[in-house]
Symmetry: C2
């Protein structure tokens, strides 16, 4: 490096699998002056974050905190603390993030049983039930909103099965929280984590996590400490609860952003926010089909916040995504895992879920597809989409 580099990131319309766009007030919150991580005023900000996280998760769980890392840190905290060597875990896998949970679970020394479904469908409760009957199980883990496939996993039947068989239920809410209904207490979920950069629309860097009393008791009853010290939930809780025992230096600016983002969610209202995501997501999906494209996820389990659309034959993945980015400033995601090269992943999360973004994306994609020989019906797409957009 001959010169000291300057910093000037481009302006993007963030319609990939995350990060989503953040409200200017959330970005501005990160620029507020730093305070100490044990400053009484910062403790108050943490307490307010905690209470807002409970509201967004729809839970009264005492143990509710944000792990100091991205959504994957929440996944690791949950898995590493809930599982001990030799304990049995059933992991539902119908996409990339279920696989990730199983990889983490394997590192705990637990006995990992996987239950799979095609990438595009949810995990069937009957398959989970079969494995629950096969032997005593500590934990069942499923992904609520599979970011790799755009599939919504129904939770309530599996939760009832877990209760029946004495297993704890872990729910990955990375892409669902703040965008679609999440009801931790009503559904009987024992542990959940999320990310900030999806439907909560803050920058990545913290993971809201909540534990039921049963999950917390299980962690406190561990015979040996968890594999992780950084993400040891006993140590993290001792900092978040009234003991305020030093464990790590809280990511101060990230906590400011989380605070402001959670406040925005509550200001909009959870039901209104879910409806906005629903309307815009369905408008996008109807528009894509009207354009002549095929959606990948099962029609009855499509997420409104993340849509997987199949790349038409003869169209080059990288060329189109590159042109979306470079000519229109729009980021969408490519496929990952089994779906690499087969689908685009289009996010409409948080601040990015707007009527304007739906129309902008449909018109930009349609134009590019036409340039590359696919006869996209852009007029029909925009017309159909416009009818369903969130007002």
């Amino acid at each position: 490096m001959t010169e000291i580099p300057t910093l000037d990131p481009p302006r993007r319309v963030l319609m990939g699998p995350g990060p989503s766009g953040a409200d200017t007030s959330v970005l501005a919150a990160m620029g507020l002056p730093l305070v100490g991580h044990l400053d009484p005023e910062f403790i108050r900000i943490m307490d307010e974050c905690q209470e807002m996280m409970r509201q967004v998760y729809r839970t009264g769980n005492e143990v509710t905190l944000a792990t100091p890392g991205t959504g994957t840190s929440g996944m690791e905290a949950a898995v590493m603390n809930l599982l001990q060597p030799g304990e049995r875990a059933i992991i539902g896998i119908c996409g990339y993030f279920g696989e990730r949970i199983s990889q983490m679970a394997s590192r705990t020394g637990a006995e990992v049983t996987i239950v799979t479904a095609p990438w595009g469908s949810p995990v069937p409760p009957e398959a989970i039930e079969r494995e629950l009957r096969a032997g005593p199980t500590k934990l069942v883990a499923i992904v609520h909103a599979e970011t790799s496939t755009g599939v919504l996993q129904p939770v309530e039947t599996i939760s009832a099965l877990c209760k029946e068989h004495g297993a704890l239920l872990l729910l990955d809410c990375v892409t669902s929280l703040g965008g679609i209904p999440v009801e931790i207490d009503a559904w009987g979920v024992d542990a959940a984590y999320s990310g900030t950069q999806k439907c909560l629309s803050a920058p990545p860097g913290a993971s809201p996590l909540t534990l039921s009393p049963a999950a917390w008791s299980a962690i406190q009853a561990r015979e040996a400490p968890s594999n992780s010290w950084y993400l040891d939930l006993g140590l993290l809780e001792a900092y978040w609860d009234s003991r305020r025992a030093y464990h790590h230096t809280s990511p101060i600016s990230m906590t400011y952003a989380l605070h402001r983002a959670l406040a925005l969610v509550l200001e909009e209202g959870l039901e209104a926010r879910w409806q906005r995501h629903e309307n815009n997501g369905r408008a996008l999906q109807n528009g894509l089909e009207a354009m002549g494209l095929v959606l990948h996820a099962d029609v009855e389990h499509r997420l409104p916040v993340l849509t997987t659309v199949r790349i038409p034959e003869g169209i080059d993945d990288g060329t189109v995504r590159g042109a979306l980015l470079n000519r229109f400033g729009i980021e969408v995601g490519g496929g990952i895992g089994e779906l690499r090269g087969n689908v685009w992943r289009v996010g409409l999360m948080g601040e990015s879920s707007t009527a304007g973004n739906v129309l902008l994306f449909l018109s930009s994609l349609g134009r590019l597809l036409r340039e590359h020989g696919f006869e996209a019906d852009v007029g029909a797409a925009l017309d159909v989409a416009a009818q369903g957009l969130a007002s």
Copy 2:
């Protein structure tokens, strides 16, 4: 909560053990628009961060990255990846953070040998040597700047001993990097990690980490994966190197802050920055002694960036720290571990290391001590300090 809370953190003079104050341009960087974590423009920003981290660490190490968490995440990444079950580690402990390393090392299943020194002195090389002679050792870990005691640990003799005995050397640079000389290559350090919120003066939330080719080979030669998936250095490196394999969603805004903070360090120049910290730190220490107070750390091993000063008899720790915060807006740290209630920890790190802060602190502390019956010689303190301040 009846109302949705607003966010208005107070303005503080941050003179504790971290976070230090951040330059306004670093805070402003966090407010820049978000981009995707695989956006070519973001990849460029990561590459620039990597090259600047190499310069600040004075290393040519290919494997140089920032772990997605606070300084403790860097500690955990280093310890969990470098140690395998049954391998022997020698951990030098002369304060809280050495203890923390040994706790993490114990969770890897390694055979942990500790070498201790009084809290106020560095670990003597002879004690490390004795243990190196006692049996084959994979890793020696020491803390360069013990934030709990204010002690500087000399590195070069211990590094030479490690080479002689075929052990890797891990150096905790959380409080040293950017404030006092750190010479990874010249000293022959194999692995090092730091924090952003100390002498680099960015918010907490990322941990610059570097590995020598020998350390990287050792990690690649592991028989089983590390305990941690989130902080698996093989997976992290696959994202930071040209493979750009998805692992986690990079903390985008934090990376912006790191970029700007590293640029500020290089703009100032490392030698000039070290000198500034040296001058201000010595001025503070001379001033405190002139006031009639006793410094805790051995005189020949005092850090300029973090000073431990003994609380005089009859003075209440919490009362004085509370008044510093509430009346003067100054945060300093209390003692931790063995030194709880016995010392104050006064940081002069990064942007917080200014002549004004030295004088403000001496005058504020002196005034409070007098109010509580300790005859502080404030005039002498300010006079002595003023002679040594960084211009």
